[in-house]
């Protein structure tokens, strides 16, 4: 069973199309989306439509902070993000807005936890930016493996579990995944995988980022997929959104 994990699509149609094609070519039989379908990008309607169709066919989608902000307003956000959320609200139909509002905050299956930000207080949208934050999240759940997004930089954290518990004494291992190299998620450890961003990578590599979990082999593989960010950037400019949102896609920052 191959489960494709996609996070932070951010209304980037070109990147999502490229990633879906890449994941299907590699035999993904299921899709799980880790939140933030809208915001920053100029194609919220197409992306949400695509998502609704995929969820209708068995995909799982969970809530991200940008998706939540479509309903609640972007008051807590920084300026370009807030601007785009206000614009996005006008782009989406009632049905699409209702779909986003009804998304679950977390999802659990087979001992795995899926959410957008982190497990201590999922609704606070804190970032798993380092080993300490990852350790706190790992210790707050009984699930062996946690998958999240929100950071826009792929990372893999792990911790030893002994006699059923994870000690405060042990450090978390931090790892920057290498694209295309499967990592065995050793079953006696606790893991937290931050999946990179499909639509707005921020680790210096502009190509779209996602991962595939092979649940039979228990291996996680991060992937990078090139897409035409000039087209995406042009749409962002044409929509009158802040030009720096187009510019950063070229640099992956």
């Amino acid at each position: 069973m191959k489960l494709a994990l996609l996070a932070d699509v951010h209304a980037n149609r070109e990147a999502l199309e490229a990633v879906l094609g890449h994941a299907r070519e590699r035999g993904s039989d299921r899709f799980l989306f880790l939140g933030d379908y809208v915001g920053y990008g100029a194609d919220p309607e197409w992306v949400v439509e695509t998502l609704m169709e995929m969820v209708g066919n068995g995909a799982v989608a969970i809530l991200g902070n940008h998706d939540a902000a479509v309903k609640t307003g972007g008051d807590a956000m920084e300026s370009p993000a807030r601007t785009v959320i206000e614009w996005t609200r006008g782009q989406l139909g009632a049905e699409q807005r209702a779909f986003l509002a009804a998304l679950p905050l977390t999802w659990e299956e087979e001992g795995r936890l899926f959410l957008h930000a982190e497990a201590v207080a999922p609704r606070k949208w804190s970032y798993v930016a380092d080993g300490q934050a990852a350790g706190r999240s790992i210790r707050s759940t009984s699930c062996r493996v946690t998958f999240c997004g929100h950071v826009h930089k792929p990372a893999l954290y792990s911790m030893t579990e002994m006699w059923g518990s994870v000690s405060e004494m042990w450090k978390t291992t931090v790892f920057r995944p290498v694209a295309g190299i499967p990592v065995p998620l050793m079953p006696q450890r606790r893991w937290l995988a931050v999946i990179g961003s499909v639509g707005q990578p921020r680790d210096g590599d502009p190509s779209a980022s996602y991962a595939i979990l092979d649940s039979t082999r228990n291996e996680l593989t991060h992937h990078r997929v090139p897409y035409d960010f000039d087209v995406t950037g042009e749409k962002i400019r044409a929509a009158g959104l802040p030009w720096m949102l187009a510019e950063r896609l070229r640099k992956g920052l």
């Binding site: 893999l156 792990s158 911790m159 030893t160 002994m162 006699w163 059923g164 000690s167 004494m169 042990w170 450090k171 978390t172 291992t173 931090v174 790892f175 290498v178 190299i181 990592v183 065995p184 050793m186 079953p187 006696q188 450890r189």
Partner: protein, 478 residues
């Protein structure tokens, strides 16, 4: 996480458990069999008891992660693994024979034997590094030999794969490893430099050739740190007949700053296999340690550790420290080709500062045995060729330790070059294309055969050919 003891006669996941062959501190090894596997195999089972050190578990996980990812003659073949939820184990190929540990009561060994062992182990290390793995525990008890002669590295419990998470980094009690063999950067907690394995091999070479461990058998942090500021006694002080070339190699391995060691296992193996080509420096002449005052200054200098940490490189670095064999054929009389080859080599020298260049020429030999007079003649030819090669290389701007010269004798030049590349673990072959089409028709193309059969990248150099009948039209025409 409760595990029954694995006992003879029991079956675990289809493996029939046989006799106990090794009882270590962290694990046990037993012979096992399975009907569909026709070679000798072993099962390694960690000793795990309530309240024990997490390091034993982490180390076993690390080996479970890495062993399935490595292949080839220099590692035991992986067959199966069982996880901690039922019964943790690893099943791997049994190499047979002894580890190098059994040599310890015969030390010191003859210099040639030490160099031969060292060259084989360095080749194995090189092979592992090429597969993105640093062993981090190279020592006699982790080295075995196949009946065919290749060194095999065993026990990957402290290893690191640079494309996989480093689980040992979690451990709070750094450093993990074997005291006498730990590289200075490992002692400082740096787990990323492949040259740490070359340091460990240097300790082994020193020990095997003198009978004395260069840094003793230190216990505790302070004693371990001593090698950062106190240099070992030069082997030549311990054994008066110690060859300078071997001291050069061993002391280079034991450099505190990793950037002063050999850039790769391949280059170390090359030096150990070609004593006459080792560039001797002040290291080879050293007869005593640095004075105490110098050592004490180093000890209390707060900056002593800086270059060790700063110059530690990642595993990817070894791929830029290749051995390049340049096959130079001076018989064609083509100065243009000789020049083109030289230019290509010069560019490589500049672009790959850690690369090493072996300049090779094949002296064609007839297949029949030679009589005395012909043999002398052959000797002269051999020396003459070396002189010619050095002359060819004179115009290159290169440090002496990066270049060496070799005349191979063979009736078949292509076979000789290929054989050289194979035995010396060459990463790239550079050779010229014969321009004289007449000769090529009669003799066949050496470059084509080498390119077709080489185990590595081949670059064929040809001076720019002027195309006939394409003179440009004079200006004003048309």
């Amino acid at each position: 996480m409760m595990h029954g003891r694995v006992q003879a006669g029991q079956t675990v996941d289809g493996f029939l458990i046989g006799e106990l062959i090794h009882q270590g501190g962290m694990s046990t090894l037993r012979k096992v069999t399975r009907p569909d596997i026709d070679r000798p195999i072993l099962m390694k089972v960690p000793k795990i008891q309530e309240g024990m050190d997490a390091a034993a578990i982490v180390s076993f996980e690390m080996e479970q992660m890495i062993l399935p990812r490595v292949t080839g003659v220099h590692v035991p073949k992986f067959f199966a693994a069982g996880d901690f939820s039922v019964q943790p184990y690893i099943v791997m190929e049994s190499i047979g024979g002894n580890t190098l540990l059994h040599k310890l009561d015969q030390l010191p060994l003859p210099y040639e034997e030490v160099a031969a062992i060292g060259a084989k182990v360095a080749t194995a290390i090189r092979d592992l590094h090429r597969q993105h793995v640093i062993h981090f525990d190279v020592k006699p008890s982790n080295i075995m030999f196949r009946p065919t002669g290749e060194a095999v590295l065993i026990d990957f419990g402290l290893s690191r794969h640079d494309q996989l998470p480093d689980l040992m980094a979690e451990e709070f009690r750094i450093p993990y490893g074997t005291g006498p063999y730990l590289a200075p950067e490992q002692i400082l907690g740096v787990r990323k430099d492949p040259r740490s394995d070359l340091f460990a091999l240097g300790v082994l070479l020193y020990f095997f050739s003198t009978g004395i461990r260069p840094f003793g058998d230190p216990k505790g942090k302070g004693q371990l740190h001593k090698r950062l500021w106190r240099d070992p006694v030069p082997p030549r002080k311990l054994r008066a007949d110690y060859p300078p070339w071997l001291q050069e190699i061993v002391l280079r391995c034991l450099e505190v700053d990793p950037s002063r060691r050999h850039p790769s296992g391949g280059q170390l193996s090359f030096d150990l296999s070609h004593p006459d080509q080792v560039k001797l420096t002040a290291r080879s002449e050293r007869l005593r340690r640095d004075p105490w005052t110098t050592a004490i200054k180093r000890r209390f200098n707060p900056h002593t550790e800086e270059p060790v940490v700063r110059n530690a490189a990642s595993a990817m670095q070894v791929s830029t420290a290749p051995i390049v064999a340049v096959a130079v054929d001076l018989s064609g009389g083509s100065e243009a080709l000789a020049e083109a080859l030289r230019e290509t080599v010069q560019r490589g020298l500049e672009r790959l500062p850690d690369a090493r260049f072996a300049i090779v020429n094949v002296l064609k030999q007839h297949r029949i045995a030679l009589d005395q007079k012909l043999d002398e003649d052959g000797q002269n030819k051999h020396l003459m060729r070396l002189v010619e090669l050095r002359h060819w290389a004179q115009k290159l701007d290169v440090a002496a330790h990066r270049i060496s010269f070799h005349v191979l004798e063979s009736p078949d030049p292509a076979a000789a070059i290929l054989d050289y590349a194979e035995t010396n673990d060459v990463d790239q072959i550079v050779l010229g294309a014969r321009t004289n089409s007449m000769l090529r028709t009669i003799l066949g193309s050496v470059s084509a055969e080498v390119a077709a059969r080489a185990p590595c990248t081949v670059t064929v150099v040809r001076p720019r050919r002027q195309l006939a009948g394409t003179e440009t039209a004079a200006p004003g025409d048309a």
